[in-house]
């Protein structure tokens, strides 16, 4: 019940913002872009029902993070690089959760080149830095390769939503900007990634619980063991240090061996991080093949 209420309220809020921003909408094509549509399946990979489901999910989870989760599928990019294509898409259509060129996370795939690119703008740039986007991309690439597009897109939306629930670490990038979306305090985060890894085992509650149990077991065991009194003498207690010493010693170098090993190479098939669009919007990113 309360969720429906929240949804309604969110919708209402959205409409107000729309009305307020409508006159300001400046980009050329932006007027005929429906900012509340999140699924752009130009490559026709989804059934109508799947597209509708994803649209609902993106809308619902997007509200929670104040971010537009956009799925973009194409067959060919007019010769553009996929990164370029996504940047242009953002510049021209000005998507965003509540304002043009607002908080946006885009998953784009090109069926011709079998390219995949993930990008985060504004708030999503901070919360979904290159590192987190890499993780998401690696998670969904197997599904894409197998043709399970719906599952992959679903995972993109849910995982992005989840990761955005974790604070990004305050990196030290220079391109500070402020003011993304109402309700979000502009405490001048900046975009670079390397935030705490949400997949880190340390953050899993079950790991924390097991660790706590082990710590408690060890401490109680020590307490029980020590309850009977413990030995308090050590090597120094009975040693006569005046008479105890090394009388004679030598350390002769005998020989040496050297082995060499090739450095592990870093070429995974990922590449490309974020960048800045032609329109001057900076973003994070992760690209690869599937």
């Amino acid at each position: 019940m309360s969720r429906i209420f929240l949804q309604k309220r969110g919708l209402f809020f959205l409409m107000i913002v729309f009305l307020m921003l409508l006159p300001l909408a400046m980009p050329v094509k932006a007027e005929n872009f429906d900012r509340s549509q999140y699924i752009y399946d130009f490559a026709h990979l989804l059934t109508d029902q799947e597209a509708a489901d994803l649209q609902n999910l993106a809308k619902e989870l997007g509200e929670a993070r104040e971010t537009a989760f956009i799925i973009l599928t194409v067959s060919g990019t007019d010769g553009k690089d996929i990164v370029q294509y996504v940047e242009d898409f953002y510049d021209e259509n000005a998507p965003g959760y509540d304002q043009p060129h607002g908080n946006t996370a885009i998953l784009a795939i090109d069926m011709q080149e079998r390219d995949i690119y993930l990008a985060g703008f504004k708030k999503a740039e901070q919360y979904l830095g290159d590192g987190r986007l890499d993780q998401i991309r690696e998670n969904i690439t197997p599904d894409l390769s197998d043709g399970h597009y719906f599952q992959a897109f679903l995972a993109f939306i849910t995982t992005s939503h989840e990761y955005m629930g974790y604070e990004p670490s305050d990196g030290s990038s220079s391109d500070g900007y402020s003011g993304y979306g109402p309700g979000e305090s502009s405490d001048g985060y900046n975009g670079n990634d390397s935030g705490a890894d949400p997949e880190n085992i340390f953050f899993q509650w079950w790991f924390q619980l097991i660790a706590s149990i082990i710590v408690a077991a060890v401490i109680v065991a020590i307490m029980a063991y020590r309850s009977g009194g413990r030995v308090t003498v050590n090597a120094g207690t009975y040693m006569n240090s005046d008479q105890s010493r090394v009388l004679n010693k030598y350390d002769n170098f005998v020989r040496q061996t050297v082995t060499k090993q090739r450095k592990p190479s870093n070429n995974t098939n990922s590449g490309g991080g974020g960048g800045i669009t032609g329109g001057g919007h900076s973003h994070s990113g992760s690209s690869g093949k599937f």
């Binding site: 924390q208 710590v215 109680v220 030995v231 009975y238 009388l247 061996t257 090993q261 090739r262």
Partner: protein, 342 residues
């Protein structure tokens, strides 16, 4: 021969007083210094056919003794008596550490210790079921050991560095030798058959500056036993007690290496001197839940050892408490690291 201490003033029995370290008479309060007390037991020889029945000098009652008993109290009149036969000749102790903790202090200290137990059951913590508290002089051998150690070892130092596309691992081998002299003095080994060795080891250390030349009056009013094992018989245990110390000393001389492989290790430990001494221990026997627990207290330092009963409910309480606390702490840490609280 039975030794018994009569007050020169009033003729009552005298006993050793832990507080003053002197013989004292409870009746008239007279104190007698012990350190100047004439002692000729070392030279005295008693007849070989040792009597197996002794009579109290005070009241004439038969003294109930075991074969090891060297000092006890008459069960009839309570007078402290010392059986001189069992403390003379080769059985004469060289030194003694007298009790400095009196019976009352020992009782209080034991009760305090029981209350401190974090895992002990509530009923036990009252410490109101002390069955007996016995002051005993336990026979110990104090060994002075000398160890001559020679070790050869092949040691390595490992360094890695990068050059171009490669990681190089450079291993340097050294032939190391150490000739070490180690002296350990006054290593205590209990020579009583009855006493649990682990329990006695935990009572250490004894403050050796309190060692006094042995005089029989120190034993007046306490139980004392003669040794069951000779120093020769106990030498292996003394060596065993320092073997770990020797190993760690050897290791401490071979630092700075990544690996140490001993190719030859020669340890020769000899007994330079061994003294027979009596050390003070309060033995506490305690009834709880129909079983008897035994504790020992160092009669000089007050250190208490022995396994108290463990309360399962307290274990459960501590366990869940620490688990919850640690869990919360980990949550907070993960929150600070940016992982979110849940």
């Amino acid at each position: 021969m039975i030794l018994h201490y009569k007050c020169p003033g009033c003729g009552s029995d005298m006993g050793f007083d832990a507080e003053s370290g002197e013989l004292s008479c409870e009746a008239c309060g007279r104190h007698e210094n012990i350190e100047n007390y004439p002692e000729e037991l070392k030279s005295v020889r008693f007849s070989e056919d040792e009597a197996n029945e002794y009579h109290c000098e005070n009241c004439g009652a038969v003294l109930i003794t075991e074969a090891e008993t060297a000092a006890t109290s008459c069960s009839f009149c309570g007078a402290g008596v010392v059986i001189a036969d069992r403390l003379s000749g080769t059985l004469a102790p060289a030194k003694v550490i007298p009790f400095t903790i009196s019976k009352e202090e020992a009782t209080k200290a034991f009760q305090k210790w029981c209350r401190k137990g974090l895992l002990t059951p509530k009923g036990f913590m009252n410490a109101d079921r002390i069955k007996s508290l016995t002051g005993m002089y336990i026979p110990f051998w104090l060994f002075d050991l000398n160890s001559k150690v020679q070790v050869n070892a092949t040691c390595t130092k490992v360094r890695t560095y990068e050059q171009g596309d490669y990681i190089y691992t450079e291993t340097k081998y050294y032939d190391a030798f150490r000739d070490i002299n180690l002296d350990y003095v006054k290593i205590p080994v209990d020579a009583s058959e009855k006493m649990n060795d682990q329990l006695m080891d935990k009572l250490e250390p004894y403050p050796y500056d309190q060692l006094k030349d042995f005089k029989t009056p120190y034993l007046a009013g306490y139980i004392a036993e003669k040794y069951n094992y000779t120093d020769e018989e106990l030498l292996p245990r003394a060596k065993d007690k320092i073997s770990g110390y020797i190993e760690s000393y050897i290791q401490s001389t071979l630092t700075g290496y990544h690996s140490v492989n001993y190719t030859n290790k020669h340890i020769d430990t000899r007994n330079k001197n061994s003294d027979y001494v009596l050390l003070p221990v309060w033995m506490v026997s305690y009834d709880y839940n129909n079983s008897e627990y035994t504790f020992a207290m160092n009669g000089e330092t007050g250190k208490i050892v022995g396994k108290p009963p463990i309360s399962t409910s307290k274990v459960a309480m501590w366990f869940s408490g620490i688990t919850a606390g640690t869990f919360l702490a980990l949550k907070c840490v993960s929150l600070m690291m940016g992982g979110g609280f849940w």
